[in-house]
Symmetry: C2
Subunit: 631 residues, 2 copies
C-alpha cells in the first residue's frame, strides 16, 4: 500500500458533554469502509440490541466512508444509524448533499453520539474543534429557521447543518434529519432518536483538504465521469426530469401504488408526472457536492393554499407517489406543499404519506370515524385533510398522536381490524413500488434489514435486455423478467443487492454510480484505489458489502426478528385488481421458497441466521457465539 488511509472518529457523550477522538487502524477502515459498514459495526459493538431506541443508551452514528468528499459526482453520501424507534431493529438511512464531505473536510469520517443532553443542544464542529452548544433558542424551530439561526450564531455563512424539525423534537417515530432542506436521512426514525437526545442539530464547517494517494488519477476519473454523465442516457434523463420522470412509466406499467396499495395505476398520474411538474411548478435544478447529474428539483408557486418556496425542496418520485397516488390526490401543488411541510417539520415523506393513506383507508372502511378526527372527514383525495394530518402528526395532536407511531403500532393501538390496512415491513412503511410488478424489489422489501426499504436493490426494469450486461462484472448472466420470480430472479436480487450495497457502503449516490449509472465497476475500483492507495478490488469491496449486510442481519436477529418478518404486505399476496398486472399476486408458499433460497445463497441457516462459516469467511469471528457458533 503506497498510501495509508488515516481517519478520525469523533465520539461525543451528550450526558457528560465530553468528547474524544478515535483513530482506528487502517485495517478497520479496510474492513468496514464506511456507511452501512461503520453503522453496523457500531450498533453491534455498542450492543444496542436491547436498549430503548429513545433512551440515552441508544447510540447514533453518522458515517461517511473512506471515499466521501472526493471530487467525483456522487461521492457525497453519509449514513445515519442507531437502533430504530420505528422498527425496533437495525436503522440506517442515507442522505446526499454537502454535509458528508463537509464533515470530512472538518477532519472526521464519522461521529458517534452517546447519552442525552439535559436541555436542547447542538454540536458545533469547526475544522476539528468540537463544542456542545446550547440550543434552547432553536428548540421548536423548523428546519429552515434552524439553518438560518445557525448560520448566524456560528458566524459561518457556509456552515452545513444537519437538523431535526419539531417532529423529531416530538419523537414522531418516523421523524427525519435534513441538510439544506433538499437532502434527507428520511427512513427509520433517526429524527426521533436525535430528538430523544435533545440534539437539535449538528453544524459543521471544514476547510481542510483531503489527501489522495493518486490525486491525478482522481482528477482524471472525475473528469471522465463528468463527461460520461453528460451523455449516459439514464443520467441525462435524471438531470432533465429528476426522479419525477419516473411517475409516468411506473403508472403505465401498472405498479404505481395507489390508494394505500389497493391499485397499481392512478387516474391522476399525468398531473403528478414530469411534464406537468415542469410546466407548472419547476423553478430550477439543484445538486449535491461536486455532482454533474443535478437531479434535484427546486419548485416555486404563488398560491394562496399551497405556496411553494424554492428554498424548501421539490417533491421526488417517492413523495409524489406517497402524497399523490397513495392518497388519490392529483393536485400537484398540494402534493408539493405536503412535501415542503414535511421538509420544514422534519417528517419522512414516505412513512408520512403511507401513514396518512392508512388513516384514509381506515376512514373509508369506517374503522376511523369523525369521532376519532374531531369531526373532520379524512377520505382519499382530500388534499386539505392530508395537510391537516401532516401537521397533526408532527405536533402529535389528536389523531396525529397515534399516527405518529407509524402504521404498525398505530394499528395496534386503534384495533378494530385496522391492521388489515397497516402496510409495513418489519415495522417500516414501504417505499412506493408495488412488488407485484417488480418482484426483485419485492424481495428487497422483504429482506432489507431496515424493512420497507426501496433502496435495497436496483429497479428490476433496469435489467431487461441490454441492461443485464451491466451486472456482468458481478457475474449475473440470465436476463430476468420484472414480473416473474424464479431462481434466476432470486439470484438477480442477490447480486443486485450487492451492487447497490456498494453505494451504501462507500456513500455513493445510486444515481451516479454502479450498476446502471455513469460510473462503471472498473472505474469505481480505480477510484477507490486512487483515493485510498489500497490495491483493492471489486471482490474485496463486495466482501465489505456482504459483511455489512450480515452484520445488520445479526443485529436484527438479536433484536428478535424471525423469518416471519421476511415477508411482504398482505395486498401483494392478493390479486392486482386491474391494469397491465391484473391478476398478479405472490403465492405465499412459493414466496417462502424464494426467501429460503436467498438464505441458502447467503450462507444463512433455515432460521435466517448467518452460519459460523459465513461469519468466519467475512472475518466476523467476533460475532460467533456459544457452542454451536450460531448468532
Amino acid at each position: 500500500m503506497a498510501h495509508g488511509y488515516n481517519g478520525k472518529i469523533l465520539v461525543v457523550d451528550l450526558t457528560t458533554e465530553t468528547h474524544e477522538v478515535r483513530e482506528p487502524e487502517e485495517r478497520w477502515y479496510r474492513t468496514y469502509f464506511g456507511g452501512t459498514g461503520i453503522v453496523a459495526e457500531t450498533l453491534l459493538t455498542e450492543d444496542l440490541t436491547k436498549v430503548d431506541p429513545l433512551g440515552p443508551e441508544n447510540v447514533m452514528v453518522f458515517a461517511c466512508s473512506v471515499v466521501t468528499g472526493a471530487p467525483i459526482s456522487g461521492f457525497n453520501r453519509y449514513s445515519v444509524g442507531a437502533r430504530s424507534p420505528l422498527t425496533g431493529g437495525f436503522a440506517r438511512t442515507e442522505a446526499a448533499g454537502f454535509f458528508g464531505p463537509e464533515l470530512k473536510f472538518a477532519g472526521f469520517d464519522a461521529i458517534l453520539v452517546r447519552g442525552a443532553a439535559k436541555a436542547p443542544v447542538y454540536l458545533w464542529i469547526n475544522d476539528g474543534q468540537v463544542e456542545v452548544r446550547d440550543a434552547s433558542d432553536l428548540w421548536g424551530l423548523d428546519n429552515w429557521e434552524t439553518l438560518e439561526q445557525l448560520r448566524e450564531s456560528t458566524g459561518e455563512k457556509k456552515v452545513r447543518v444537519l437538523s431535526i424539525g419539531p417532529a423529531g423534537e416530538n419523537l414522531v417515530s418516523y421523524a427525519c434529519l435534513q441538510n439544506d432542506l433538499e437532502h434527507f436521512n428520511g427512513r427509520t426514525g433517526m429524527g426521533a432518536v436525535m430528538g430523544s437526545k435533545n440534539l437539535k442539530a449538528i453544524a459543521v464547517r471544514g476547510t481542510g483538504k483531503l489527501t489522495f494517494a493518486d490525486p491525478e488519477k482522481v482528477k482524471e476519473i472525475a473528469s471522465w465521469h463528468r463527461e460520461r454523465i453528460k451523455v449516459h442516457p439514464p443520467n441525462v434523463g435524471l438531470g432533465k426530469f429528476g426522479t419525477p420522470g419516473l411517475v409516468q412509466g411506473v403508472n403505465a406499467s401498472g405498479f404505481l401504488p395507489t390508494r394505500n396499495f389497493k391499485e397499481g395505476q392512478f387516474e391522476g398520474a399525468e398531473k403528478l408526472a414530469a411534464d406537468n411538474y415542469h410546466d407548472t411548478i419547476f423553478h430550477s435544478r439543484g445538486t449535491c457536492w461536486h455532482c454533474t447529474v443535478a437531479c434535484k428539483r427546486k419548485v416555486e408557486l404563488e398560491d394562496a393554499n399551497y405556496p411553494l418556496d424554492k428554498r424548501f425542496g421539490g417533491a421526488e418520485y417517492e413523495t409524489l407517489a406517497a402524497f399523490g397516488s397513495m392518497l388519490a390526490i392529483d393536485n400537484l401543488p398540494a402534493v408539493n406543499y405536503a412535501n415542503q411541510l414535511c421538509n420544514l417539520l422534519g417528517l419522512d415523506t414516505i412513512s408520512t404519506g403511507c401513514t396518512v393513506a392508512f388513516a384514509m383507508e381506515c376512514f373509508e372502511k369506517g374503522i376511523l370515524t369523525e369521532e376519532d378526527t374531531g369531526g373532520r372527514s379524512i377520505g382519499f383525495g382530500d388534499a386539505e385533510a392530508m395537510i391537516w394530518l401532516i401537521r397533526q402528526i408532527a405536533a402529535r395532536e389528536g389523531i396525529g398522536d397515534v399516527l405518529s407511531l407509524g402504521v404498525k403500532r398505530a394499528a395496534e393501538k386503534i384495533g378494530r381490524g385496522s391492521e388489515r390496512y397497516a402496510f409495513h415491513i418489519k415495522g417500516q412503511e414501504l417505499g412506493l413500488h408495488d412488488g407485484r410488478g417488480k418482484t426483485g424489489m419485492g424481495l428487497g422489501f422483504a429482506l432489507g434489514a431496515t424493512g420497507g426499504d426501496h433502496i435495497e436493490t436496483p429497479h428490476d426494469v433496469a435489467f431487461q435486455g441490454e441492461g443485464i450486461s451491466k451486472l456482468f462484472p458481478m457475474g449475473l448472466f440470465d436476463p430476468v423478467d420484472p414480473v416473474k420470480t424464479d431462481a434466476a430472479k432470486v439470484r438477480f436480487f442477490y447480486i443486485g443487492q450487492k451492487a447497490w450495497g456498494i453505494n451504501n457502503l462507500l456513500g455513493l449516490c445510486n444515481f451516479c454510480s454502479v450498476p446502471i449509472h455513469a460510473l462503471t465497476f472498473t472505474r469505481l475500483v480505480e477510484a477507490v484505489q486512487a483515493i485510498t492507495g489500497w490495491d483493492t478490488s471489486l471482490y474485496e469491496i463486495v466482501l465489505g458489502v456482504e459483511r455489512a449486510n450480515v452484520m445488520s442481519r445479526v443485529f436484527n436477529n438479536r433484536c428478535g426478528f424471525t423469518p416471519d418478518d421476511d415477508t411482504v404486505i398482505r395486498r401483494w399476496f392478493e390479486k392486482m385488481p386491474a391494469g397491465p398486472l391484473k391478476g398478479m399476486r405472490f403465492d405465499p408458499e412459493t414466496f417462502r421458497g424464494w426467501i429460503e433460497l436467498y438464505y441458502e445463497m447467503s450462507g444463512w441457516d433455515k432460521d435466517g441466521r448467518p452460519t459460523r462459516g459465513k461469519l468466519v469467511e467475512l472475518g466476523l469471528d467476533w460475532l460467533t457465539e456459544g457452542e454451536e457458533g450460531r448468532v
Copy 2:
C-alpha cells in the same frame, strides 16, 4: 463489451475417426473461462461419473482459457481432465510450456476426445486442419523419440507435441503427458487415459494470430510485468535457482517429507539443494511461452550410471523430494536420472516417487520381501533399486505391475497391513509437503478435488508478516501462523484456494501471477479486460473459480466420494518425531471441525454437498436435482 470473445472447441471421436468444431456462445466462455472451468463443465455435461476411466466412454478434455497465448509471462498453461483412473474421481492436471498457446494459434481453445481408436493413432492439428493419423510406428517409443519422429513425419520442425510414453501405453495409473520433455500434465493418470484410447500424441502447429480487444494495453501490461519480474524478489529467486531453491528452506523448517512421510528433515538434503545442483549438474535455464521468469532447469552430466541429458529436463523441487528425501537418497545425479527416466517413459514423478517410497517402507517392514521382488533388495537409500523399480513400473513387470496401480490399490492387492504405509488422499499420492508444517496446505490436500494436490493453495509460509497484504484485494485480514490451525487459518486456505484457483481457471502460471508473484490482482483483471474486451472484475473471475471448484466437488460427490475422503494421511495425525516441528500432529476431531467449517464457508451442507442456494448463486441451476435440490 467492445469486443466479443470468439473461440472454437474441437471435438474428436476416435472410435469413428470423425471430428466436429463447436463454437460456444460468448456467455459460455464468460461462465467457464478455461482450465478447471472447462474441464469440470465437460466432465459433468458428458456425465462421466459412472464410466470406466480406461474405457472408450471416458472423455478427455484439453483446455486452454480465454487468455492463453497472450504474450504475457505465464499466460501459457492448459489443463487436461477426464474421470481419473487413479482416484476414480475428478481429474485435472495443468502444464505450461508451448503446447497451450500453439493450440490457440492453431484455432482451438480446447479439444474433447471421445471413444478409442482401434490401433495407435496421433492427432495432427495444423492451423485448423485436423487429422487422425496412424501411430503404429510410434507405439512403444519414449517421449523423446516420439517428438523426433513427429517433427519428421509432420515436416514441421516447430511442431508442438503432447505425448505419452510407454507408461501411458501400458496404462500405469499415474502415467503422465508431456510436452517438450520439460512440461508435464503430471497428476491424476491422464497418460493412462490417453493410452486407453490408443492416442499416442497430439501434434499441433499454429501460425494464427490472436486478436485482442486492446492490443496496446496487452503490450503495456506484458512489458510492465516483464520489468517487474526482473526485480520482484520471489521471481528473481525462481529465475536464479528454480524450484530446487526450496529444498534447503523446507528442510530447515522441518517439513521436507522424508522416508515415506516418517520424518520432516533429511540428513542428505544439502546434496539435493540448489547450491549443489547448480555446482554439479546445472546446464542452463529453460522457459515457457513468452515467459521472463525462466524457472526451468536443464541439466547435463557425463556419468556411467546416471548420465544426464539437457534435452530431458532437470528435476524440480517435487521430484527432488519424491526421489530424494522420500527415498532417503542423497545422490543428486541418481535422483535426476530417475526424473529423466520418468520424463522419457511418461510417469508422474510425484506418484512414482511416493509409490517407490511405499514399496521401500513395506520392504523395510517385511511386508514386501525378496520373494515379491525376484530376489532384489529395495530398501530406503538404494538408488539402483529406485531406478529398477521405475523401469518395472513403466513396463508393469514383476512387482511393478502391482505398484503401477498407485499406493492405494497396490496396498489393497498386497494386503498384509501394507495399507498402513500407503499414503494417498482420495487415491492419489501426495505432493511433497508435510501438512503438519503447512496446515493450510494440509487443508488443501484434504479438500482438493483431485486428492493429494499441492497446488490447491499457495504455501502458508508465503503469507507471514508483510506477505499477508498480498491477499488483501481478496479481503484476507489476519496474518496466519504456518503451523497453527484455527478459524483464521481455514479462512486463509479458503481465500488462498480461490487466489490460486484463478491461475488454474485462466491457465496462468503460479510462478508469474497472483498472489505472490509479479502479476498483481489489479493488473491481472486489466489483462483479462484488454484481451477479451469484457468489463470484468476480480469478483466475476473469483466467481468463476468457485463455480469450477463447486462443479468438481459435485462431480466427485456423484462418483461416490464422501466427507470421509476429505482427510489427510495417518502419519499427520501422529506426532512429528523430530526437528523443529517435533511433536506436531493434527488432532482428528479438531481437524474434522476445520473441514466442517470449510464446508459451511463454502455453502456446502454437512455431507459436503453444495446446497441448491450455492448452485443457483453460481448459475449452476442445471446441476440441481430432485425435490430437495441436493446434488
